[in-house]
């Protein structure tokens, strides 16, 4: 099954930011969103992840297939690395967390409390969460923030494995991951013409 986005308009704080976005993302492929700061990448990803309703247009193949990772990692400072990961595994009905730990080189940190990790280590843990969701479509918002080059490579490998297994990935990043399967979509052409908030159109 593939992700299809048609004529999608998304808004933030009621103001339309992107309009008429359309693309498809087949399994085994990745799509990288590009665009300057404030162009609306985060907003688009949140909409596709189902966290906010679209202003117009259709999204098919998202919903229950999405594993979302945002700017903030949703880590509990007072739980250990294992406990944090294990919780999400349980929520998503997955049993084994070792592959995720291994893929992001967290094995040496299993008993450390998440609050005591460095910025990059936290990020790695947040990304490892994706692997325990068992969900095929990864929706990622700037996943490589604070990661060093080695960790970026770990992440690229993880995405690669995920794609090979038939998954797909949609992400916004400012850096290049060197993924062969990745297409790039620049959101700049879709930027909404300056308008008032959609909900305010009634007030014209």
């Amino acid at each position: 099954m593939e992700l299809t986005v048609e004529n999608l308009s998304v808004s933030r704080g009621g103001v339309p930011v992107l309009e008429d976005v359309g693309f498809t993302l087949a399994s085994g492929r990745a799509l990288v969103l590009r665009g300057p700061n404030g162009s609306g990448k985060t907003t688009l990803l949140r909409t596709i992840a189902g966290l906010q309703p679209p202003l117009a247009g259709q999204i098919t193949g998202a919903g229950e297939r999405v594993a979302y990772a945002a700017h903030s990692d949703g880590l509990k400072a007072m739980l250990s690395v294992t406990e944090n990961l294990h919780f999400w595994a349980q929520v998503f009905g997955v049993d084994d967390i070792t592959p995720a730990l291994r893929a992001f080189d967290l094995e040496g940190l299993t008993d450390r409390l998440a609050g005591m990790l460095s910025a990059g280590q936290k990020r790695r843990l947040g990304l490892a969460r994706l692997m325990v969701t068992g969900r095929p479509l990864w929706v990622l918002d700037e996943p490589t923030v604070s990661l060093d080059t080695a960790s970026v490579q770990l992440f690229a490998d993880a995405v690669h494995t995920h794609l090979e297994a038939g998954g797909s990935a949609l992400m916004a990043t400012h850096i290049d991951l060197g993924l062969a399967e990745a297409d790039v979509l620049d959101v700049t052409p879709f930027r909404a013409k300056p308008r008032v908030a959609a909900q305010d159109e009634a007030f014209w």
Binding site: G13, G14, V15, P194, R195, V196, A197, Q199, D200, A202, F203, W204
Partner: protein
């Protein structure tokens, strides 16, 4: 449905602009007539002395305090079901008016209580439930103020209004159960035996009409204001992004 046309902000402003002067004039007229009649030309009550004159403020404001909340409840329901922006804004516009009415009812009641019951305040069920109603008004207004996004605020406050109404009713019964009161029962009933004497009754009716009209005029005006403020915000946002 023709009535829903007035849910269009432009149409609403246009219509209310036409009727607003008339309503205002009527409101002021009936308030002036009613209050002057009541204050200068009614006799003292044989038991309560001159304090009966407070009734011309106390009862209408108490009625409006409750009815304003009811109106907000209806407007919230309309927003939830049909998502007409004007109704959400009307609810927002009515809240401060209702709150002021509640304060007036409380204040006049408290002043009245001093000579009649020998105390400013007693935990009488009716008094108490008014105090609770005032708290609901405060919370409702505070929630509107606290949320930036207008639609989110409308959604959340209307749910609060619904849930709050249920709890306000519950509180009313709870309070009744908790304390037997001093306050008189409703005497505006159609049952003639119970009613206050006609001398007090007619000016009172005029005052009530005045309060109702005043409420309508204020809600119209304030809703217009909310609509305009909203439109201003919308236009500014557009300007900023251009």
């Amino acid at each position: 449905m023709s009535l829903w046309e007035y849910a269009n902000p432009v149409k609403f402003i246009r219509t209310t602009d036409k009727v607003l002067p008339w309503i205002s004039v009527l409101a002021v007229a009936s308030l002036v007539i009613g209050l002057i009649w009541g204050f200068f030309f009614t006799p003292d009550d044989f038991r309560q002395g001159s304090t009966v004159k407070i009734i011309y403020l106390h009862v209408p404001s108490a009625l409006m305090a409750i009815n304003a909340w009811l109106m907000m409840l209806v407007a919230s329901l309309i927003w939830i079901v049909r998502r007409h922006h004007v109704s959400a804004l009307a609810a927002r516009a009515a809240a401060p008016v209702g709150a002021v009415m509640t304060v007036i009812a409380l204040a006049t009641g408290a002043l009245w209580g001093q000579p009649m019951w020998g105390t400013w305040w007693a935990w009488d069920p009716r008094l108490t439930s008014f105090l609770i109603l005032f708290l609901f008004y405060l919370g409702y207004m505070a929630l509107w103020e606290a949320i930036e996004n207008d639609d989110t605020a409308a959604d959340l406050t209307s749910i609060l209004c619904l849930v709050g109404s249920v709890f306000a009713l519950l509180s009313r019964y709870a309070v009744n159960f908790w304390n037997q009161g001093l306050h008189q029962g409703a005497s505006l009933s159609l049952d003639k035996e119970e009613n206050v004497a006609d001398v007090f009754y007619f000016p009172l009716l005029v005052c009530i009409a005045g309060f109702v009209l005043l409420f309508i005029a204020l809600v119209f005006l304030r809703t217009q204001t909310e609509i305009r403020a909203r439109r201003t915000r919308a236009l500014m946002a557009r300007e900023r992004m251009a």
